[in-house]
């Protein structure tokens, strides 16, 4: 049968960031996908050896716009482990709250893009309308909508007082009821289900072999969530790991929607339990040593390796972002899919190409 090659990307309305795929088609069915990356490679890992480690924090935050908060937080966490300092408890709870707000905004963004991918623009707009309220909360507390610049080595730079925290929690009730109706459309609507059910199947064994992380992995039945390691204040908070056995795009949608509601609960718990105290300790001197930090970003498990040798610059800073891991599984679920499902499949891994190609 004759094969056609269709170039997909790097600019495509459904892609949040540029990635290029050469799709080899046999009459509307994808046979092979040849990727081409490198459109947003900025050499951020190399930059670590050229910038003062305090200032490099602001560069790390800007590796990606959507996952920005957790990049900054992981960098601070790694530096704190190298210095061997323990940040105040209040700072840990504040970081947890901002982490979960970041997860909320990222999942709502993903829901919108998913709806856009199968053409349901109104659903896309409604998801983002709810997301705006989260972004307003983040701006009220930190000063920036996406890039918050609120982490410091030794704690956080801004405090959220009781009034602000209670105000946020009060807004959650209304948002939750709106989201319940919205997510019912994602999960129960016939047309949406027809697009998502049994599309892009990744079995459990394949998920481990191909290195899937995060909701990709949890939707295939693997019960692993890096938040259970107990960094920040997650050790004190009760939450379940949300998994699904569907292994398809609908299952991934379920997992992410479940995580949205779980985030609301986690923030409620953190706001109830947050202790008083200071928010930052001062850390002086140059770091020396190495640290490996693992964090659960909205897209999956991210691993940070930092090595310092006693000078103002870090010797090595390695970020293994979740999308880097998920890209391979993407290349494996594309063959066999319909051409019209390709944007959808690319989105089910929640691609963050800026993170991949720092």
């Amino acid at each position: 049968m004759k094969r056609t090659i269709v170039p997909f990307g790097p600019q495509h309305p459904v892609l949040p960031e540029p990635i290029h795929l050469d799709l080899v088609l046999e009459d509307e069915k994808v046979v092979e996908a040849i990727p081409s990356f490198g459109f947003v490679h900025r050499g951020m890992e190399d930059l670590a050896s050229k910038r003062d480690f305090n200032d490099y924090l602001y560069v790390v935050e800007r590796i990606c716009g959507i996952c920005s908060y957790m990049h900054g937080m992981s960098y601070c966490e790694g530096a704190e482990r190298i210095f061997g300092v323990e940040i105040p408890d209040r700072a840990k709870y504040l970081r947890t709250i901002w982490c979960e707000l970041s997860r909320l905004h990222s999942h709502l963004l993903w829901l919108g893009l998913l709806a856009d991918a199968f053409g349901f623009e109104a659903l896309f707009m409604q998801s983002w309308r709810i997301r705006e309220k989260i972004l307003d909360m983040v701006e009220d507390s930190t000063g920036g909508r996406l890039i918050s610049s609120v982490n410091l080595i030794g704690g956080v730079a801004r405090d959220m007082d009781r009034e602000m925290l209670d105000g946020f929690v009060k807004q959650f009730d209304k948002m939750e009821s709106e989201l319940r109706s919205l997510t019912k459309v994602f999960l129960k609507d016939t047309t949406v289900r027809a697009r998502l059910f049994e599309v892009g199947v990744l079995t459990k064994t394949d998920a481990i072999l191909y290195g899937a992380v995060g909701p990709m992995m949890r939707a295939s039945g693997i019960e692993l969530d890096t938040r259970k390691l107990g960094y920040a204040a997650y050790g004190d908070i009760d939450f379940d790991i949300i998994t699904s056995n569907g292994c398809d795009s609908l299952a991934r949608c379920e997992v992410r929607i479940g995580e949205i509601f779980q985030s609301f609960n986690i923030i409620r718990q953190a706001v109830a339990k947050i202790p008083d105290g200071e928010i930052c300790i001062s850390v002086k001197g140059n770091p020396k040593g190495e640290a490996t930090v693992r964090m659960e970003q909205p897209r999956g498990e991210a691993l940070y390796y930092m090595k310092a040798n006693g000078t103002r610059n870090l010797e090595r800073f390695r970020v293994r972002t979740p999308t880097f891991s998920n890209i391979y599984s993407l290349l494996k679920i594309l063959p066999g899919a319909q051409f019209a499902d390709v944007p959808l499949l690319i989105l089910t891994i929640d691609p963050c190409i800026s993170c991949t190609e720092r």
């Binding site: 490099y56 560069v59 109104a122 705006e132 920036g144 610049s149 801004r158 459309v185 129960k188 016939t190």
Partner: protein, 420 residues
Amino acid sequence: MAGIFKFTKFALRNLFTKPATRAYPSVPARQTPRTRGAVQVNIDDCIFCGLCNRRCPADAISVDRAAKSWSIKRMSCVQCGNCVLNCPKKCLTMEGAYSAPACEKRSELFRKKESPIPAVHTLAPAPTDGKAIAPDRVLVIDMTSCVLCGLCARRCPTGALSVDRKAGIWTVDRAACLQCGNCVNGCPKKSLALVPENGHPQVETYTRSAAPATSEKTETPITAQPKGEIGITVDLSTCILCGLCVRRCPTSAIAVDRKAGTWSINRQSCVVCGNCLDVCHKHSLSKTTEGIDTSGIQVYAKTVELKAEATSAAPAAKSEPVVEATPVETAPQLPAPAPSSEASATDAPVGNGIAIDMDTCVLCGLCVKKCPTSAITVDRAAKSWSIDREGCVLCGSCITACPKKSLSEAEIPLLKTYTK
């Protein structure tokens, strides 16, 4: 079938609610008290330490200490707030809005206004139009730090002050006082102040306190200096004997003899106010406690004599290091400088002198005003700039004053007149 109308509720509600979007930029963007935007600087508080420059991850800020300027590349700034966090004087703030978009990359420069340099050749007070800067205040003095130098009396536009060194008295006529603050600004010991009125008499006389008080601010004792105390000394290797210090000395303690190559100071008159230090362009003067003989006049002499040749004023000798304060000696004659190949038609000798670039000169005449010996003349009509090489003392005031940087000191054929 039942699953088709799940979205209907949203669609219907959307019909009857107002839009969730904001028509930015017609409507201003949402701002919160913590919103981060463009970085602004309060240049008056800035000390130009350069910390913000070093902390900026995008290298957007540059600080020039000498020029007292702070500039930011608006398009490079990522609004991270690191500079604001690290500024030791807290003079940086973040506005609530980003800087406006533009078609080209631009920088914004902020420069600290210099405080006006007092005129070098006269001690005339700064013009105040006779208006008071602090009309409800009165002038008082702290006699513990006053050295009775008399600068305040000279600067007073109405002659309201009088100082008697011998008697140790300082008098103010508050009726004549305009509260202009000229004396307060000019006092080298910061003894004067304008304070709120509180039953002060119209004419008041202050006497210097009997016990010698030492103020923490200066290292100079007020009473007559015993031997071995602090005094002014000169480094004759850099001194060009221009005489500016003579003019600035409020007690006329310094004398300079160009022909003889000597610089002398009357230690009895010298109050170590430091005015001569401030004005010396060559930074030859300094305060020291070594070798100070306060009994009378101390003379410092250059061991190599300044040559005053027929048509040039070429003190080429000052490059040789001379540091001891010895009596005047006659020095060997300097060889005449070789005429350069670019000798002009007038066949002027080559030597060290003020050079002018007539292409950039705008004949503004500022150099004329600044020249302490009135050696320069500018004729705008004839488009010419002339210098009296004998009168020129190479103090460099004209070089500093020239707004077009047309003047410099160099080894040149020493012409007297230049035309455009």
